[in-house]
């Protein structure tokens, strides 16, 4: 599904140039659950942003589902992204002014799904995440665990092929954290490819494979048994 080759990304300020990704190559197959680990500043988040087409690489190749996307402009990337990729963030990133239902509905609006179909699909996914009873609440009225479940619901409502999760349990206690990991595992078992950035060895154990990064390069890959 994903194949990147010699990917490079630099950050420049007036005086310093920082290398975030240094000729990084890797691949992820359809249906895999991959965890990316490494110390702060190793390039995990940069890699995730590029994989999610929120950012573009300076050098190298990125083939997504057989399409070279490294040189895509913003509009093309956005189009590819909204049909194929769901995001889950550490800080949930729900819109405060919208209700649970409306937050989950948002991706469907942007992909042009009809109103009736939207209600059906949002209700379906809220049901699956067991937050149906909270559908008319605002994010601030929910616990962290509930908010993250809304965020996951939003990520999967469009039935994406790939879910990118950036420390999804970072702001949660261990019990809520485990719930979220179970949810992701379920999604993976139903066929969704998942790439997750995490600091937690515990969470990483839910994955099939751990890629460890240091200074923008792959230093080790562990295959989970």
């Amino acid at each position: 599904m994903i194949k990147i080759t010699n990917l490079e990304k630099f950050y420049r300020t007036e005086e310093v140039e920082t290398i975030a990704l240094n000729k990084l190559s890797m691949h992820v197959d359809t249906g895999e659950f991959v965890a990316i680990m490494g110390p702060s500043g190793c390039g995990k988040s940069t890699l995730l942003n590029i994989l999610g087409m929120l950012d573009d690489p300076d050098e190298g190749s990125y083939v997504f589902n057989g399409i070279e996307v490294a040189q895509f402009n913003e509009r093309k990337r956005a189009d590819l992204r909204k049909h194929n990729i769901g995001f889950v963030f550490q800080s949930f990133n729900l819109i405060d002014e919208l209700t649970v239902f409306e937050n989950v509905e948002l991706p469907l609006i942007y992909t042009g799904v009809s109103a009736a179909e939207r209600v059906k699909r949002v209700e379906e996914v809220l049901d699956k995440m067991q937050i149906m009873h909270r559908r008319n609440h605002y994010p601030q009225q929910l616990s962290g665990g509930q908010q993250q479940r809304v965020a996951i619901a939003r990520a999967v409502v469009n039935k994406p092929k790939l879910i990118l999760a950036d420390e999804p349990t970072g702001n949660l206690d261990s019990s809520n954290g485990n719930d979220v990991m179970e949810l992701l595992t379920d999604l993976n078992e139903q066929g969704t490819t998942i790439i997750m950035v995490t600091h937690s060895e515990h969470d990483a154990r839910y994955s099939h494979r751990i890629i460890r990064l240091l200074d923008g390069q792959t230093v080790m890959e562990n295959i989970m048994v």
């Binding site: 990133n93 729900l94 948002l106 942007y110």
Partner: protein
């Protein structure tokens, strides 16, 4: 998708109540101000544009050299109308007008009403529809009269006016042959009735064939297809070919230009009222722009708050376009709410605005075109104010905003700073202009008029006043109502007559010099407290030869070049040539414009014609007592007419009405501009204080004082106000310098004006900003740092 935008817009508005109210208040006040000005501009532009034949109607103008300058004027000789119709095949119709002022008697009702004497073509040339009567025949016979609806109501109440008889001036009976729809609020014409020209000829006992007496307006309707240039080439010589006057050219001034383009300089049309229209349109535009700038500033200042939303929407699939549409929709919605508030504001303030501008403006709720303009106005405001924030917000990169590393740029030339400077530049220009307009007004008002206005009253000589003048004058004094009485040809505040028909020894051959003409009776200088600078007053009793005596003012002595004016002989062509002897010189007094030098004036004695009685009220009685006594005396000798009187100082102060109006409008709009700008500044200061709350916390932990923090926060804004002042100063100086050029008597622009403006603006901004700055500085740092 639209519903989703609407929902989030609405919730955002409710959630940030202070932001919303600042935004809506600013926009609404800005839109209301702009709308008021635009109503005014629209009214001015529409003056006399409703006449169906407006493209073919012209007013006759004269052009001639005076004292080396080419002067144009719009009054013409009376015979010009007939000459146009008889000798010029290009002219389809023509009509004269001059003012009529008669006593109307109907049973017990007595009213003095003003109207026009005019020719029958008037009704068919212009589009003043009759409710009753026929425009083709209504003015066909001498004793016919056309009255307006209002006049009909005044005279007849609710009963039928058509066909009724009215007594005019106790001598003639007129039949109402037409009732006219009331004049609209956008015409130069102002009359309560129209009566046939033949009546003027009857009253004056003759048909005036003099081509040297310019005293009526003459209008011509050209046949279709005749161009202005062509007809001007034909009528140029009309005065030359019909009289022995050889130095006057005649031309036609088109109706479409009457209101806005009627200022002539050196024989050329150089504009006119259009300057003020343009100026106020620009002001309207700027006020609206300032209100929109507020919106832009507040929206972008809040960008940190909206950034997260933008990021999330982009991540889940929003395109940049859909975000621009969303933010524009928000600003249009705010503009819509503001528009409704503005409409209410306009409706509430229109009566006062009308009073201020002497207009009868109204909101045309029934007119679909008005709603179309209103909707476009709201859309325009919404798009104008929303465009920059929409582009700004939609361009955020989601990677940055969602990671929390996002901070709005703080460069030296950020657009937000430029916008604040624009606002304050405009506000400061208005403040400076307001001060200078007021100074100019004070300056002119304090100018020495040359005579004493207090307790001085005048009454027009109507009915039998002229015949009984000696008796009235005597009784006014013996009754104790007045201390001094005189009669004159015109009120002391109006120049009614001027002529270039004077010659004297030493006058340069061919020089055409114009003099104001003024006629006075005995006790003139005493009643007016005028100073004689040489010679003596005209006094027929003591000097029988004074029937041909004249007085000159100082300006006349100067222009005539007399070293020793007393005893000089001045001639004119009256009665085939008359001689006058100068017996005295009076100090210059202001008859006409207080902004212009006093014109040369020749004053004739008691054998000339008179229209007005001036009398100085007795200071020992109250004004009411004096007026009651005077009323009884006038009623006794002029029983048919109501007693009318005018205070000279009231009439004099009307000379300043235009400048007072400009002054008040400038003050009003300067005030509103400052209000809107300060709302914006207040909003910006609020967000700045919020955004820097952590920085303030850190600074306080490290030992910064409240005063230190307040100063730090206020300083940035004051710098912007300072820059605005630097931009505004030359601009305001230039504008006011140009404005003052229109006045011969004018103030010098002093440095103090700029100092006062700078001080006021600084003070207002400090008050606005420091409230938020102090509040931020007083916040306990523990609170602001805890969330880190």
């Amino acid at each position: 998708m639209f519903k989703n935008y609407l929902k989030i817009t609405w919730r955002n508005l409710l959630k940030n109540k202070s932001f919303t109210s600042i935004n809506i208040a600013g926009l609404a006040v800005g839109m209301a101000s702009a709308a008021l000005i635009l109503f005014w501009v629209q009214n001015e532009m529409s003056y006399d544009q409703f006449h169906e034949k407006k493209d073919r109607i012209y007013q006759m103008y004269n052009r001639s050299f005076f004292d080396g300058k080419l002067i144009c004027w719009g009054t013409t000789p009376k015979p010009m109308m007939k000459a146009l119709k008889q000798d010029y095949p290009q002219v389809e119709q023509a009509a004269r007008t001059n003012n009529a002022n008669y006593l109307f008697t109907l049973g017990d009702k007595r009213l003095t009403l003003t109207g026009y004497h005019t020719d029958a073509d008037f009704l068919t040339m212009f589009s003043f529809p009759l409710i009753k009567g026929n425009i083709n025949t209504a003015l066909n016979s001498m004793k016919n009269i056309v009255i307006t609806e209002k006049t009909a109501k005044k005279l007849f109440g609710d009963t039928e006016a058509m066909g009724k008889t009215i007594k005019i001036d106790s001598v003639d009976y007129f039949t109402v042959t037409g009732v006219m729809k009331d004049l609209p609020n956008n015409t130069r014409f102002s009359f309560e009735y129209l009566m046939p020209w033949s009546y003027w000829e009857k009253i004056n006992g003759r048909e005036d064939k003099n081509w040297g007496n310019n005293s009526v307006q003459t209008y011509a309707l050209l046949k279709p297809g005749i161009t202005e240039a062509y007809v001007n080439s034909r009528v140029k010589d009309i005065t030359r070919t019909h009289s022995d006057i050889k130095d006057i050219d005649v031309f036609m001034h088109p109706q479409t230009k009457w209101r806005l383009y009627s200022k002539f300089e050196n024989g050329k049309l150089v504009g006119g009222r259009i300057t003020i229209i343009r100026l106020f349109s620009i002001i309207a535009g700027f006020i609206l722009l300032i209100a929109c700038i507020n919106f832009m500033n507040l929206s972008t200042a809040r960008s940190e708050k909206r950034a997260k939303e933008v990021g999330i929407r982009k991540v889940v699939g929003a395109s940049k376009t859909s975000l621009i549409v969303q933010f524009l929709g928000e600003s249009i919605m705010i503009a819509l709410i503001s528009g409704v508030v503005a409409l209410i504001l306009v409706a509430v303030s229109l009566p006062s605005f009308n009073q201020l501008t002497q207009k009868q403006l109204f909101i045309p709720f029934g007119n679909p075109f008005f709603w179309l303009v209103m909707v476009s106005f709201i859309l325009f405001t919404g798009v104008l104010s929303g465009s920059y924030p929409a582009l700004f917000l939609s361009s955020f990169a989601p990677v940055k905003v969602l990671k929390g590393t996002f901070k709005a740029a703080q460069s030296a030339f950020s657009p937000r700073k430029v916008l604040v400077v624009t606002q304050f530049t405009f506000a400061i220009v208005l403040i400076i202009s307001t001060i200078i307009v007021k100074q100019q007004l004070d300056f002119a008002q304090n100018r020495d008029t040359g005579y004493k206005k207090d307790n001085l009253v005048y009454t027009f000589m109507s009915g039998t006043v002229d015949k009984n003048y000696a008796l009235i004058r005597n009784e006014l004094i013996t009754s104790g109502a007045a201390t001094s009485v005189t009669k004159t040809s015109a009120p002391m505040t109006e120049g009614w007559s001027d002529t270039w028909d004077y010659t004297w020894d030493g006058k340069q051959e061919g020089a055409k010099l114009d003099f104001n003409m003024f006629n006075v009776d005995a006790d003139f200088s005493k009643t007016m407290n005028l100073k004689l600078v040489a010679g003596r007053d005209i006094d027929v009793k003591a000097y029988p030869s004074d029937s041909t005596a004249i007085l000159l003012n100082e300006a006349a002595v100067k222009i005539m070049g007399f070293k020793d004016p007393i005893g000089q002989i001045v001639r004119n062509s009256d009665n085939g040539g008359s001689k006058f002897k100068v017996v005295g010189v009076i100090k210059d007094f202001i008859l006409q414009s207080p902004y212009e030098p006093v014109k040369p004036m020749i004053i004739q004695g008691p054998k000339a014609w008179f229209n007005v009685i001036h009398y100085k009220l007795n200071p020992k009685n109250t004004t009411a007592e004096n007026l009651k006594l005077a009323e009884d005396i006038f009623k006794k000798y002029n029983s048919e007419y109501p007693f009318d009187y005018h205070f000279v100082d009231d009439e004099y102060s009307k000379k300043f009405a235009d400048e007072k109006q400009i002054g008040t409008l400038a003050t009003l709009f300067a005030g509103l501009t400052i209000f809107i700008s300060c709302l914006g500044l207040f909003g910006l200061a609020t967000y700045m204080a919020q955004n820097r709350i952590k920085e303030i916390g850190v600074r306080k932990v490290l030992g910064a004082s409240v005063l230190g923090v307040t100063t730090m926060l206020s300083k940035d804004f004051l710098k912007l106000v300072g820059v605005s002042f630097l931009v505004a100063t030359p601009l305001a100086w230039y504008l006011m310098h140009m404005w003052l050029q229109g006045y011969s008597y004018r103030v010098d622009i002093s440095v103090w004006v700029f100092a006062i403006a700078a001080f006021m603006t600084t003070l207002i901004s400090i008050v606005t900003v420091s409230f938020q700055a102090v509040k931020a500085a007083l916040t306990n740092p523990v609170k602001s740092l805890r969330s880190e």
